[in-house]
Subunit: 408 residues, 2 copies
Amino acid sequence: MSVEKKAILVVADGLGDRAVKDGKTPLQLARKPVLDELAREGSTGLMSTLGRGVIPGSDTAHLALFGYDPAVYYKGRGPFEALGVGFELKQGDVAFRCNFATVDKNLRVIDRRAGRLKDEGPQLAKFLQGIKVEGVRAIFLPSTEHRGTLILRGDGLSPAVSDTDPHSSEPLPLLESAPQNNSQAAKKTARIVNEVIRESRSRLASHPLNKQREKEGRLPANVILTRGAGVYEKVESLKDRYGIRSCCIAGSALYKGVAKYVGMEVLKVPGATGRIDTDIEAKAKVARQALEEFDFVFVHVKGADNASHDGNLEGKLLMIEKVDRLVQILCQEAIYLIVTADHSTPLSLKRHSSDPVPVLFYGNGVRRDKVKFFDEISTACGCLGHLTGIELNREIMDLMGCGHMVGS
Amino acid sequence: MSVEKKAILVVADGLGDRAVKDGKTPLQLARKPVLDELAREGSTGLMSTLGRGVIPGSDTAHLALFGYDPAVYYKGRGPFEALGVGFELKQGDVAFRCNFATVDKNLRVIDRRAGRLKDEGPQLAKFLQGIKVEGVRAIFLPSTEHRGTLILRGDGLSPAVSDTDPHSSEPLPLLESAPQNNSQAAKKTARIVNEVIRESRSRLASHPLNKQREKEGRLPANVILTRGAGVYEKVESLKDRYGIRSCCIAGSALYKGVAKYVGMEVLKVPGATGRIDTDIEAKAKVARQALEEFDFVFVHVKGADNASHDGNLEGKLLMIEKVDRLVQILCQEAIYLIVTADHSTPLSLKRHSSDPVPVLFYGNGVRRDKVKFFDEISTACGCLGHLTGIELNREIMDLMGCGHMVGS
């Protein structure tokens, strides 16, 4: 198998939307001359990433876009977060997404984000090193702001344990992790999680940073909450499957994590923040350079999703303009450029939805349909029709010359 | 899970068609200004209810529209008919569709509808009460005209038995019910069916109404024919699945039955006949009132299917105008309105076909595509693309805010 032509896949997170103004979607309202020009010159369509009417999560949507059926490969979000902060997971590790949070004396979670922690994570995390329960090592890794990851490493663990995070803005009690099946492994893992959290409370209570925060009337980060338990299992990489060298350019840990899971190399981009203020020129530059070394370059742009979760139309329009600029830099004759989203995040809902997202294929020889604009309405008439994420990935791999023929 | 917005689903039975005049379908020929206006303001598409090229039955199509995969949930039509006439089935009951029919002395079925019985069913049915065979109770319920339902209640029954109805307009012999597998249950059930039918012949022969009919030279209803055996199994309701309160507004027993099977409350509508003469204003009024109590309101309109089975173009056009009037009354800003059909019934065929049917989503925020008319041709360019019934249901549930996210 050899690569005929390289490709860049741009995923603008949460880009799809509904009618928000004069019956038009943000993509219909935004100024995006380059995306529209590429739509005129290439193939377009719509994608329901996980199938019609299914609301994609961010992790499952990207698995599908990379060609990995979530029904087979999705084992919970925790491992992606751990991989995304650069941790080398081993087969059987059980990982959790974590928040630093604040509990009161009655162990009610009064702030799930410990007063929106800024950059104190690493300092607090130092007090959480070296915890071991029933022979299992608990490794805590701080991430951005209040976020972190907990990895349990040892024998006989299971991801079938419930969250300790009460998932509420109301002051609900800190939950005990409970086994979700009758296995010894689930029971053991739940016991360990609960013990790790007790230990985290004890250690964080005495942290000078927390004493300082309390003195200043701020909320202490006096507990960690766990959620999204998942077990790490090594899977065949994109290289194993297609013989391609692939890389990831993203700001947020989750996307780096999913990329790493499927064997992509994660490139560092200074200025890629995973927010609306991300340095799109820096990302574009790294992506262009990456084409020298890699066959398949995945570029993730998070901002449109953030703006949507905040109900911020102006921010979403700005991000669409940034994506337009990114695409302007990336489009070259020598490669295929694919632009799409992982899912819709309608501004009116401030959550993911199942509404399909537009897809664009651009590159020399790609079929040129009659669609003139890159948006949710125009691309419905495109020659790609209506795809799932898995189908999109297969089409990209075939474009690149890495497809598998069935039969002879 | 909470409902963000309520929805009304209007299903115009057998609405889809083929080119019948000047290359146009009845939907293209009919006057339906409201449906066309909603098409201009909303999202449209096409639906192959059970998948491309599959001819949907009325029962299976509605199962799919409610989100219940017929491959899993369809156990024969009998139970839907029984539920539809208001009978409370118990787990394991085996139910059959029945006709009162006429057999001659040689037990040939000379009229499958006993001379198109009018309203004599209930009187005849009184003679069929209290039949018990091998410890199994046989409960016969009259329905409209010559129709009825037989329910067998007892241990060790099976729906794997053949029809006694010869299904022919020729005078073919009354069939013996035969077991369709080697199980004791199927053998026992077939024996019971045959005994119930023998007993029905004996009892109906002496019914004064039949003696009267024979005296007048009319055909006696001297036997019941069984078909469509099915076993009742309780399934999780729409409330269990989505937390929604749902109701059904329909004239015919079958649709009420499928609705009841999935946990909808069946509302009574005086004037809803399940025929072309149905009182559409009465249905619309009940549907609007139902929105106060229910989240998801299913409105079934049968007439277009009847007209199609009769090859009656004028009737079909009239029914389309009635649906237009219904939709005019139902469309409000505060809800989502979904209009579609369960299947096509081409006038030229006088039977169901696999031709896809148009779909329309209307409501605040719904994507506005470029389609201007609600018909089988125009909606092919709509932004909903081409859906199955199950997919349509998932999209509706997500619109209402009751969707499930896969992943995180």
